[in-house]
Symmetry: C2
Subunit: 307 residues, 2 copies
Amino acid sequence: MPAYAVGHKVPDSDSICSAIALSYLKTTIGEETLPARLGELSPETLFILDKFGFEQPELKMTFADTDGIYVVDHSDRIQGPDDIDDTTVLGIIDHHKLGDITTSTPLECWIRPVGCTNTIIKMMYDFHGVEIPKNIAGAMMCAILSDTVIFKSPTCTTADIKCVEALAEIAGIEDYKALGMEMFTVKSSVEGTPVRELVLRDFKDFKMGDNVIGIGQLEVIDLALFDEMKADLQADIAAVKEEGDRHSVLLLLTDIMKEGSELLVASDDAALVEKAFGKSLVDGKAWLDGVMSRKKQVVPPLQDAFA
Amino acid sequence: MPAYAVGHKVPDSDSICSAIALSYLKTTIGEETLPARLGELSPETLFILDKFGFEQPELKMTFADTDGIYVVDHSDRIQGPDDIDDTTVLGIIDHHKLGDITTSTPLECWIRPVGCTNTIIKMMYDFHGVEIPKNIAGAMMCAILSDTVIFKSPTCTTADIKCVEALAEIAGIEDYKALGMEMFTVKSSVEGTPVRELVLRDFKDFKMGDNVIGIGQLEVIDLALFDEMKADLQADIAAVKEEGDRHSVLLLLTDIMKEGSELLVASDDAALVEKAFGKSLVDGKAWLDGVMSRKKQVVPPLQDAFA
């Protein structure tokens, strides 16, 4: 039986591309590993896979029948496979805060405070001296451009920038910023998409104290794209909150050109959210100037407020 | 304020030498970091520090007043500083199962299934292109020889062996195996040492389900050294169990030449321990042939038995 590399629920481009890139690396060094996904792919991820000629990874929700899993792009139990206790966690490759996955045997963890899991996977290729195939380099590069919002996110580090430059060279892509903008234009086409699909497109649950907080994010090249649908989005995050028995659901509408986010909030205690960001909500909304990163600018203040 | 590198409670040679080696590396790349220790040092560790000209790291139990900590050689809350929640965990460098430390911000984790934390720290030096000073290389090498029982432990990997060879060359040590035996002879001098000191010399608490299980280990070059004191050791682990409100206390008396361990047990439910190892206890004792590693051969079966 092979091992699997699997990212978080509601997979984003980093989760999928890192699963593909890690599987190739592990298989090349003699550990047969396949990529898996825990859900449907976003238009952005489909664009990347199509661009570089990849099939979608296998949709696989249970891993008890495998040789173990490499957890990529998360380390929180709530975000990963539900049957994680029935398999062996062989390793974790991630760039977020350290979550609550524990193991009963030694494992391999490559966790770095960088902008993207694929930047770390590039380090793993270098460590093992394995050449990155052209198409895998392209997919890894796009995942980094996505996670770092073409280097604009405060999560972006010099390691990410250098990595993109190196991967662009391997992939033979001259103008990677143009490709990044093309990708974000695909990501920005929200018109005609069902509201629920938008809310859940890049959605993660976090355990804060005894509460579950769901946080979604939509990154677009122009916030005006949401003008017609904002009321519907607000109604829907309230519904997602109730259905999932969550304390709060937040949706970040991030304008990557203006470099800030409009925050939509549905919460049992909105004052806590106001406290976290030092901002009053008006009609359940607030503009957070300069806020582009859920990981670095949204989760930590919320976690402090809930502590 | 500097950051600190700190190993586990009841520090062993790996915890101390990795704190020293990591502090030098971090300081060299521009992050001022100091080594700390959470307890008294064993004769083996004192031998290493003396051999290579190091002072004992600062005895420091609280870290709220620091710039953060690098956790080395463990990732379990129960084994680390009690006030870990009052500081920032900047990173974890470890070679054990993944424990229950979590963070609220991204961090750096270098965790590998190898025999010793110092083997991983060597990888970090290589990654950063920092030259290892001669005396630090010597201390790192001794820590690896200690943790891998001069390569006899089943935890030993080819990475550990290669790392010892490289460090021996840097340190200018020709016969590292002879130095290893000298070190284990120091470790074996148990005569005249108070029984409690022996029980706690290399002692770790583990959380298994809702229970705390303490497991000590003494590695000697000849098990006969314990002949006169075995009854006292058994009485004392029973006392340690009661005093610490533990479910069980196990003491492994490891014979590094015979390559096996005598297990002494004090437990609220000795049948669970018997089940874990598939061995009956006679007078609270059992010989476990080939068992040399607490991490690989003792903790996992116990954890399964307690699951």
